[in-house]
């Protein structure tokens, strides 16, 4: 039985309305194509998890798929604010958005605990901050050996983990390299998982640093440039012009809605969207 399928099938089979969905990729290998497909299939009431909700989650939040955001840093890196995210928080447009807000260290421990099958993880963190006032997922705990006070954070176990990787092999094993982020933990913490890849190969590139065996990956879909406008190390660079352009597109509700219609709802897949913006793409 193969886990290799189209992205459309992967999302239809694995993402349900109301699910907790974690899409990871720390500035690198961000699964934009999968985000577009979730919007295209009009999923609703998702609890979205991501350490750095940047442009990909601005698109999902603005399109109205999210009821809650679990995160640690929300911005358009190197550019400024996320306007769809801010309008959801400030004005409940297009719907209200609950926040469960953490630090990066706390989020990474929550994923690691989830991947480890533990109910919580611990760290030296959060002390003296207001973060703990607005979440139920951080509590103080005493070390049973030394008595030291630590922060306990509840495990994250998403229904679906979604990442982009450079390669899969023909068995559906997944390999990636470069900046590694929290992708391994996010997949292992999740009940189901979707991985989009640049290419499917007979043998992994020797640069591969992390391998996820096919039996922990529910679905693999080949989507070349599926991380655009972020980058895939060894394949293409970050499209900084897209990130800057997003500031204007996302600033106005109507401009944003028209963009979603044109680039996602009226296209059949990510390659059609890429064809529309081809001039901004740059090979490595």
């Amino acid at each position: 039985m193969t886990n290799i399928m189209t992205l459309s099938e992967a999302v239809a089979q694995n993402v349900n309305d109301g699910d907790t969905v974690a899409m990871e990729g720390f500035t690198h290998l961000i699964p934009f194509a999968a985000g577009h497909e979730i919007i295209r299939q009009q999923k609703r009431d998702l609890r979205l998890v991501r350490m750095t909700p940047d442009v990909i989650y601005d698109q999902l939040i603005g399109a109205g798929v999210a009821r809650e955001l679990v995160f640690s840093w929300g911005g358009n890196p190197g550019v400024g604010s996320l306007h769809r995210f801010r309008e959801a928080v400030d004005l409940a447009y297009p719907r209200s958005l609950e926040l469960d807000e953490h630090s990066h260290a706390g989020m990474s421990v929550r994923y690691s605990a989830g991947a480890s099958g533990l109910p919580f993880g611990t760290l030296r963190g959060y002390v003296g901050t207001d973060l703990t006032k607005y979440t139920d997922n951080v509590r103080p705990i005493s070390c049973p050996f030394t008595g030291e006070s630590l922060a306990a954070v509840s495990a994250l176990n998403p229904d679906v983990g979604v990442i982009h990787a450079q390669q899969a092999d023909r068995h559906g094993n997944v390999g990636f390299w470069g900046i590694l982020g929290v992708q391994k933990e996010a997949i292992l913490a999740s009940r189901r998982s979707i991985v989009t890849v640049e290419e499917i190969v007979d043998e992994f590139d020797p640069r591969v640093r992390v391998v996820l065996p096919h039996w922990v990956v529910s679905a693999v879909a080949m989507v070349p440039r599926g991380a655009h406008p972020s980058y895939a190390h060894g394949f293409y660079d970050r499209d900084n012009a897209y990130y800057r352009a997003w500031d204007e597109i996302s600033r106005d509700r109507d401009v944003f809605s028209a963009w979603i219609e044109t680039h996602i709802m009226n296209t059949s897949d990510f390659s059609e969207h890429l064809a529309m913006i081809e001039p901004t793409l740059a090979e490595v």
């Binding site: 640690s72 890196p77 630090s103 963190g125 959060y126 207001d130 590694l180």
Partner: protein, 258 residues
């Protein structure tokens, strides 16, 4: 060799950001292990590495250890950071194994709001549930500020940013002052310096209250007081910041990404 002969400080022209970056870079010692955020901290750390502190170790929260980019990266996860790093580790590892145990000498942060004890807000302006301005949030800052042996803060000084009371405490500096940071558990020593576009502040050794110790060229005490939302303490031996040299400015423009 006939280099190093045209140091004419008075001739150097620079922006406020360039001055802040150069003053910050001077604060880094050769060999310091620095956990770097994007923006001025990243530029300053790269400037230090390419000038007086060639052995400074740059660590980014994206998991790149001892990275040596030729240009300051636009984002903390740029490919060049991975390509030029001694090691690339995962995000859980960079926080758990490298930051948390106290291996970092300098945590280098910015903020939207700061109070007199160097506590920081990067989360909201106004009420949390109905903010006037929603900011990005915590990122790595709370634990960077907790675990680093010392922290350096860089931000522009105004009555809106230097506030009597933070709207939200994202990151702890010297907590409530008077050594109270020590009650927060095993941690580093907190903010050692705040570099602004007006001058330099350091914590008072007894009260931990940020005190103006240096004014940048052409700036006045009156400006600093007006740009501070609490009654600003001024050091008895207030000095003037050494202006950027031509060498420093040229080096900065070489490492800057834009």
């Amino acid at each position: 060799m006939v280099t190093e002969i045209i140091e004419t400080p008075a001739a150097a022209q620079y922006t406020a950001d360039e001055l802040m970056t150069i003053v910050a870079a001077r604060e880094l010692n050769n060999g310091d292990v620095v956990f770097v955020g994007i923006g001025i901290p990243s530029t300053a750390a790269n400037l230090a590495r390419q000038t007086h502190a060639p052995d400074v170790v740059l660590i980014y929260e994206s998991g790149t250890i001892d990275t040596k980019p030729t240009k300051t990266p636009l984002s903390i996860g740029d490919g060049e950071l991975a390509e030029t790093a001694l090691a690339v580790v995962s995000v859980p590892e960079i926080f758990a194994y490298w930051l948390q145990p106290g291996r970092i000498d300098v945590g280098f942060l910015g903020a939207a709001q700061l109070d007199r004890h160097g506590n920081l807000n990067t989360t909201v302006i106004g009420d949390y549930a109905h903010p006037k301005v929603r900011l990005p949030g915590a990122g790595g800052a709370p634990e960077i500020a907790l675990a680093s042996k010392r922290t350096m803060l860089v931000l522009r000084q105004s009555a809106r940013s230097f506030v009597e009371k933070l709207d939200y405490v994202t990151t702890v500096g010297h907590h409530e002052g008077h050594g109270s940071r020590a009650t927060l558990g095993r941690a580093g020593n907190g903010p050692a310096i705040v570099i602004t576009d007006i001058g330099v502040l350091r914590p008072d050794p007894v009260t931990d209250e940020l005190t103006l110790v240096s004014l940048h060229p052409g700036r006045t005490v009156e400006e600093a007081v007006a740009a501070t939302g609490w009654p600003l303490k001024i050091a008895d031996d207030l000095s003037e910041t050494t202006p950027p040299t031509v060498t420093e400015i040229e080096a900065l423009r070489r490492v800057s990404s834009t």
